[in-house]
Amino acid sequence: MSGVLRSEVRKISTTRLWWIMLLCVFLLGGGYALVPAFSANLAQSTVGDPTPAFEAPGTLRSIYNGGNTLARILALVIGILAMGGEYRYKTMATTYLATPKRIRVIFAKAASLIGFGLLYGMASVLAGLLVAIPFVLIKNGSLFLGRADTWRSLILGVASIALWTLIGMGLGILVRSMVLAMLVGIGFAYVVEPSLAALFFFKEWDLGLNLMPTGATNAMLGVTNPFLFAARDPFTWWQGMLVLAAWCLLPAVAGVLFTVRRDVT
């Protein structure tokens, strides 16, 4: 591990935030996973579906990634803080003095965030798995861990969280005020995007949905729940991943071009 990467990993690991976030992702993510689990349970008890919910692989996938909607927001926050914290606490100068080739700092931050993002992703998926187990046992269903598409959904669920940390980092680079970056990031995730998604959903404009970060994440995970405004004709998982990667790169590249080169005040 290069010095600058080790330095960036230490920056995250030496503050409390990272494990508080990890705990949040695990506990709250587990809570979020209860929603699809209970709704499937309810559907199975009342409707009397011919194929019981816990015997459908899609149901299990949506429980495993039930925490994703929350975990991705926390991942976004971690990403914003990794860069925004340096501006906020005026430690950017010290960072650039140690690594004057600034682009190396950006790459090292991205790499360390991918690492922590994967960790959060695993915590989220693990929480979903733990939530699913009692339901499956009670309802005599299956965890479908023998199926390739289950594993793909688990792995992509983990990967999507890592990508969301990078969206946050890009935003943190571009917007040099941490507070503003947080407002923009969370505002976009909780207000702008759901509004647009609802609009696109009712206009049946699938391309719009697929090109949004949430839609792209849904496509990656194979989520088809209409309550999440999932596109009727979603992108394939790799198309979704590419769209999400573009959402990471867009603010990061703009930030590197316009703000990283500027004088450190």
Partner: protein, 324 residues
């Protein structure tokens, strides 16, 4: 830090005698912020093996010059280099240059962890971190968050961070601002020792007396331009004398005959004359011959600040000092 470590310096990782430390070269450097010319065609060199005081009133462009030198700000024109290398091109920046600019830390990170973050890029281990915490007297506070540190402690932590890589150059921006008198004395001794190993110290200050006791050379700038670069030893630091007399006009005329400069001043005890000579015999005799009664005749230590402002204002009267 003075108590625990005294004057002992951390042993250099590489014997300094084997290194070749090049001068810092500021060459026709300009930096504009919009229409403000913070640094204006500034040129000077900073020699190795010496402590150089970088002086000027607040707003003179010292900090801007230092920030351009270490790559935090881009110059509008000109260069600022270590030997021939700009900071950005240094292969091992932390092993070459140590900087104490502002003492800013993540409030939740402990002092020791702050140094561990820097140790990763400096390529040094945890033992070096502990060694430096000991040196600057922060060993007891090492595992407390930086938010609990006093201003002086933050300054010392910043110094420890700058020294992690055992650099050849040490750049300090107004180091005395946050240090207590004891810390300042310790720092002086440390910097003298550092420079005596053939390394380079460049420290800025807006007060001459802060660097007067430490510096070998001084570079004075004002309004972004070079005012003077001189060896401390070449500064005309002759002492002055002060007299209070019965007739200040007559005394001034009489003393003007001597080969000295005479200035009027007033303090809480009333008006006085300051003469740029400590020959009280001649001064006393001259005033006697001029029929002036002498109430007080005192030798004064040289007035460093006054010399400084003379450099800035070109022998202006000290009463018209530019406010900092």
């Amino acid at each position: 830090m003075a108590g625990s470590a005294g004057r002992s310096a951390v042993a250099p990782l590489v014997p300094v005698s084997r290194r070749k430390v090049e001068p810092i070269v500021i060459n026709r450097l300009s930096k504009y912020f919009g229409r403000t010319r913070a640094v204006n065609n500034l040129s000077f060199t900073v020699e190795p093996g010496r402590v150089t005081g970088f002086l000027g009133p607040n707003g003179a462009g010292k900090t801007t010059t230092l920030r351009v030198l270490v790559g935090l700000a881009a110059p509008t024109a000109g260069t600022a280099t270590f030997g021939r290398q700009p900071y950005v091109d240094l292969l091992h920046p932390q092993q070459t240059v140590g900087c104490v600019l502002e003492a800013n830390f993540h409030p939740g990170r402990t002092g020791r962890n702050h140094l561990r973050v820097l140790a990763a890029t400096a390529g040094v281990g945890e033992d070096r971190v502990d060694e430096l915490l000991e040196l600057v007297g922060l060993a007891d506070m090492a595992r407390r968050p930086a938010s609990s540190y006093s201003l002086g402690m933050r300054q010392r932590l910043a110094l420890a961070g700058a020294l992690l890589g055992d650099p050849d150059y040490l750049i300090l921006d107004e180091p005395a601002n946050a240090l207590d008198p004891e810390g300042t004395r310790w720092l002086r001794a440390f910097l003298r020792n550092f420079a005596s190993q053939g390394r380079t110290v460049l420290m800025s200050s807006h007060l001459l007396h802060e660097v007067g006791a430490t510096a070998d050379d001084i570079v004075v700038i004002n309004d972004g331009r070079l005012v003077k670069k001189t060896k401390m030893a070449d500064l005309d630091l002759q002492g002055t004398s002060r007299v209070r007399v019965s007739n200040i006009d007559r005394a001034e005329r009489a003393l003007a005959e001597l080969n000295t400069t005479v200035r009027r001043g007033t303090d809480e005890q009333g008006p006085y004359l300051r003469i740029s000579s400590q020959d009280t015999y001649v001064i006393g005799a001259t005033l006697f011959n001029a029929n002036v009664a002498v109430f007080e005749l005192t030798r004064e230590r040289y007035e460093l600040e006054e010399q400084f402002f003379e450099m800035l204002k070109g022998n202006d009267r000290p009463g018209r000092r530019r406010s900092a």
